[in-house]
Amino acid sequence: MPLRPRYRHAFIAIVALSAGAASAACGSDRAASSAKAMLVSTARCGDDWKSGPGGVTSFTMTNNENTALSVYLRATGSGKVYFEVEGFGANATVTEQATLADGNYQLVCSGLETGPVPGTTVRVTNGASLASAEPGIVPVTSNDLLPISIAYKNWVTAQLPTLREQISTLADAVKQGPTPAAKADWLTAHLTYETLGAAYDAFGDLDAGIDSPPALGVDPVTAEDLTGFHKIEALLWSGAPAAKLTPAVADLASCVDNLVRQFPDAEIDPNDIALRAHEIIENAVEFELNGTTDAGSHTNLATVGANIVGSQKALSFLLPLLQSRYPDLAKTQDALTNAARVVAAFDHNGSWTPLDSLTRAQREAVNAALDNAVELLASVAAICDERLPGAQS
């Protein structure tokens, strides 16, 4: 599964900032951006910014640290951050904008080994009203995310025996060949796995053996390099005999055994929980709603349903961080609930409507529900992105 390109927030490089702040009245941000740059560094973190009216405010800063620097702007009272500059090279000049309400603010500079070092506290007055200010957030730090990733990992770990048991049931069933019972057992186990999507990254290469999708344009029944759930799916729904099903299920069982054994020692990047809450649904939209993972069972909608459960589960662990930071949290949860309801309508006692059988209106309703949820989940990943060690007041 594709993963968002990740870069670790490399320990904040020494910021040598010189912040030159210029306040832009309505309609004059062109003037603001031409303001003289202020030098910033950990020694002098924007001390040239002394005061100013609120509203749209531009900060043109030149890194005077001789090394990489990180700079952010925060409100001293709430600890909310309004912008951050990372990857700020020595001698480079950048312009950032913030829309500031009245209050006290400071720039904070960090270098690789220095900081965070706050600059002078600046009182902003005569600014836009609070309602018109840009939304800042109290940054989410690694300290916030660590216990969440541990709790999430524990939850995943607790699901693995269930998965393993369901695969044993499947193994027994396929001894009788591609029976309806065997197909039902396959679906049960596959959906369990699909709810664990938040841990794809942590499953690493093991996932490839368990749930790789079939290659496009290749018959999944005969594709030699296809293994795992989708291989078994292709065999079951094409009517393959027990002699072919049994070794394929044994391979899957072996991969899951490895997973059960290795997962407790795996490291989950604390950032992953929020990324997964978002990206499980991105993957559902990209792969399941396009049907590209289908190897014959036509159960993509069932998989989407399991993915929604997986996203909801990941989100549930993040609630303590999101409740104070994400105004649309309830809306996001409602969107997932709604998507689950829309998709569940196509479950007829374990027999799922194939994508191709949806009417246009049904298809549009499914697409709209998932699209709506995934737009809202994007903020979850943005808000929970680990930022600014030491930024919290």
């Binding site: 912008f83 709604n338 737009e375």
Partner: protein
Amino acid sequence: MNRPIVGRRGFLGGLAGVGAAAALGTGLAGSALAADDASAMYAFEGPHQGGILTPAQRAAAFVAFDATAADKAELADLFQEITGRARFLIAGGTPANIGLTDSPSDNGVLGPVVPGDGLTVTLSVGASLFDARFGLSGVKPAKLSTMPAFPNDALDRTICDGDLLLQICADNQDTVVHALREIARATRGGMQVRWRQDGFVSPPRPSGTPRNLMGFKDGTSNLSTSDAKLMDQLVWTHAGRGEPAWAEGGSYHVVRVIRMLVEFWDRVNLREQENMIGRRKDTGAPQSGTDEFDTPDFGSDPEGEVIQKGAHIRLANPRTAQTDNQRILRRPFNYDNGTDPNGNLDMGLIFAAFNQDVERQFVAIQTRLIDEALVDYISPVGGGYFFALPGVKDSADWLGSALFT
């Protein structure tokens, strides 16, 4: 002053009306600076929508949507959201700064300051919007119906019709794409794309009216959009006279995606081509005249010895007293889509037209064109009948507001 609306997403599940959207947008008060580059910027507010009388821009996307909003209230939200996005995009300016709380509020395709770039966003509604779903059946425009298949049509219904149509036009293709993405992003839960056809207007070759992909100038005898009285008679719908009160200032919006069988056409000799059209291919002049804008003379040619009786321009506009009120405002775009399995190129014309009464005008013309000689070389495949909503009156108004009162 136009304000950017923060690109809020998650359309369903929250009834964020205009007020709420504006509140979110106020973070940007003062930052909605019109781009002061040289490109055209059209007014968003007025009695009529832009993109109708507006001179055709170089690039266009016709995108039909089906409403997936759950009910009438969500549909109203959808119209407000489209209005908010269109209002900002047309004026241009600096997109909302949302700090670290989300992915960027604007996709950035047009750079940090969005230029107007001649953008128009025209929202039209299809007959299906007035079915039982939203309780709007009582206010359907009187002449709005589902586009029928005319005898020479080869309609693929998957690329026809729709609850809504966005006609997005601008001086550059990137501005069209930017607007489409921004509007779609803000409205994901409320509507889903049904079909889309992009188009372009060619530059004059070498002068006069732009040519279509058959190589003929197309639109030479179009209505004069500066003639307000004529527009009132032929383009704008009026309250009363059978139309609901809210329809004042709207227009029936006909879109026909007409495939041109260009390989076949290119194998047809010039005389035959010109006889089918009724104009010279090089100058665009009617066969009865010398210059492009000469008026075709049918009166002294009753037997069709100069301009054949079956010529396209003669059937489409016979220039008689009886057909005078059938004339339509055309706003066509060329399209170029790709290839067929047989290697033929898929290209043609997006016939777009505005008229006061689709039956009196477009249907009458199209009926005369049934079995014209040209039908062997063209194949209408998609499109639909829509109704372009009246304009947005002021900064508090929104597209379609009168539908919901």
